[in-house]
């Protein structure tokens, strides 16, 4: 497991007394795209919050590039090269579109992504760069949120429910942009309730159910029936 970019070892995560994740083991190789699927409340967002540092755990439970990051703060994790596209976009309403992107570049890591590249990827953002981020449509906000995460030139990018609340045509557009992003050799973890979308772009899948990994395997090797069972917790 030494060559894993990210490895999660027996992760238990809590909100006060409530345990949301139980004994999670996961690993992610450099350049790999994996999907995390699971029903509402399965612990997907908790996993994202744990990796990104918003939820702090025991140090050794999460390792990134060989360093223990389980107990690091979110800003420290960001400097190490992990970016999160949060569920619900969560742009900064007081900031313009461009200011949101610039804020994403706070950590100042070097890499292929710059304002110019983001605007090439999502030209509509360039047209609206000086407008308040709240004036964007849902899909455009999602593009801005993805752009904001890319601005830090992360080595690992986490997408949390990027299709949530968006029209199918918009989701299609955003997923079409994904290969351009991960094509740069970036490692990605895609969290979705929309299973088929997530599996289209991923090579491996983990399914969470009630805080535990209920299924894992290569996309194409796991059957629909297995996924249904792992997702809902009932035999199909």
């Amino acid at each position: 497991m030494s060559d894993a970019l990210l490895s999660i070892n027996s992760l238990d995560a809590f909100y006060d007394d409530f345990q949301a994740l139980y004994d999670i083991d996961m690993s992610l190789e450099l350049g790999e795209v994996i999907a995390i699927i699971g029903a509402n409340g399965a612990g997907k967002s908790t996993l994202m919050r744990s990796i990104s540092g918003l939820l702090r755990n025991e140090s050794g439970q999460i390792a990134f590039k060989g360093a223990s990051i389980g107990s690091k703060r979110a800003d420290q994790v960001a400097y190490m090269g992990i970016a999160l596209v949060p569920e619900g976009r969560q742009l900064f309403p007081s900031l313009s579109v461009e200011e949101n992107l610039l804020l994403g570049g706070t950590v100042g890591r070097s890499g292929p992504w710059s304002l110019k590249r983001i605007y090439e990827l999502f030209p509509v953002l360039s047209d609206r760069r000086n407008q308040p981020s709240t004036s964007l449509s849902g899909g455009q906000q999602q593009m801005a949120a993805i752009g904001r995460a890319l601005m830090s030139n992360p080595e690992l990018i986490l997408f949390d429910e990027i299709s949530l609340g968006l029209a199918p045509i918009v989701i299609k557009g955003i997923y079409e942009a994904l290969p351009n992003i991960v094509g740069e050799g970036m490692t990605a973890m895609i969290v979705e309730q929309d299973i088929s979308k997530a599996l289209e772009v991923s090579s491996r899948v983990y399914c969470l159910q009630e805080g535990r990994v209920s299924l894992t395997g290569k996309v194409g090797e796991v059957s629909r029936e297995d996924i249904t069972a792992a997702y809902f917790g009932v035999a199909a």
Binding site: A74, D75, Q76, A78, A83, L102, T106, P132, T134
Partner: protein, 288 residues
């Protein structure tokens, strides 16, 4: 007639000082939703720091600013990271209680060190010099104070809307968690905001000390003026805060013109009238 015009002009200029009292208060509330009860006492602390600097180095109060501003800013950063950050959370009560305690501590520490004797910062000629304008005599010091207030507020506005630090302030104010994800350590950002606020407090304290005599007990009154200016102008709007200070200042000087005993009362009444008619202040920040 000219006397009334005079009162209004003096009130406007006084409003500059009140805006300086209020600017730091407004900034801190805007960035971290912290109501700093010790704000007035920090202004007086700055005035005393100015006094010590002037006495020790034999310099003019304006020169003392070069020392007091960085000292207060540094104190602000340490205060925020060492104490106030621990009080911030979902509950608004802990920061209120802790800054109230801080207010008591500062007041009593100043009393121990400097006694209760009134003090003043000697600004020399500038205190009494004036320029005649159409039958009015406009004091140089109030005029300079007002000009400084405009520069400070324009400067804060620039920091907020045109620099990376200001972008960080606004982002953390919008959403702490997401800002943290972007690599901003909110503890540090809050520290910088308090440093900036206390830098402004240093200016306010020195200008106050040149204008009137002060003693350790008068901080609470300055806090009230600051609060009133912020509320009249509308929360989260720095130029509104300047307008609020001016309205408060004019109300006070007009009140004093009618009867010297009415100065403070007239200011409070103006504040209450605004609060009753426009609870969000005259120029509230437009919510998106």
């Amino acid at each position: 007639m000219i006397e009334w015009v005079n009162s209004i002009v003096q009130g406007i200029l006084l409003g500059g000082l009140y805006a300086l009292f209020a600017a730091g208060l407004s900034l801190i509330f805007g960035v971290m939703r912290l109501v700093n009860i010790a704000h007035g006492d920090l202004i007086i602390l700055a005035a005393y720091m100015g006094l010590t600097t002037i006495v020790m180095l034999g310099v003019h109060p304006f020169v003392a600013l070069l020392i007091v501003i960085p000292l207060m800013a540094g104190f602000g950063y340490v205060l925020q990271r060492g104490l106030l950050n621990q009080t911030l959370g979902d509950d608004i009560l802990p920061p209120l209680l802790v800054t109230f305690g801080l207010s008591v501590i500062i007041q009593n520490a100043l009393l121990e060190i400097y006694t209760a004797d009134p003090q003043k910062l000697n600004g020399g000629l500038i205190e009494t010099a004036s320029i005649p304008v159409g039958g009015l005599a406009i004091g140089i010091l109030p005029l300079v104070t007002f000009a400084i207030a405009i520069v400070v507020i324009a400067g804060l506005q620039w920091v907020f809307y045109a620099t990376a630090i200001g972008r960080g302030f606004r982002a953390v104010s919008d959403n702490q968690d997401i800002a943290q994800l972007m690599g901003l350590n909110k503890a540090h950002v809050y520290g910088l905001a308090m440093a900036l606020a206390l830098g402004v407090v240093a200016i306010a304290g020195i200008l106050l000390g040149m204008r009137t005599s002060f003693d350790p007990s008068i901080g609470a009154g300055r806090l009230i003026f600051g609060f009133e200016a912020v509320i009249i102008g509308g929360l989260g709007n720095l130029w509104g805060t300047l307008a609020g200070g001016v309205i408060l200042g004019v109300a006070q000087t007009i009140g004093a013109k009618i009867d010297p005993g009415w100065q403070l009362l007239a200011g409070h009444i103006a504040f209450l009238v605004v609060l009753a008619l426009r609870p969000n202040g005259l120029f509230p920040r437009v919510e998106h």
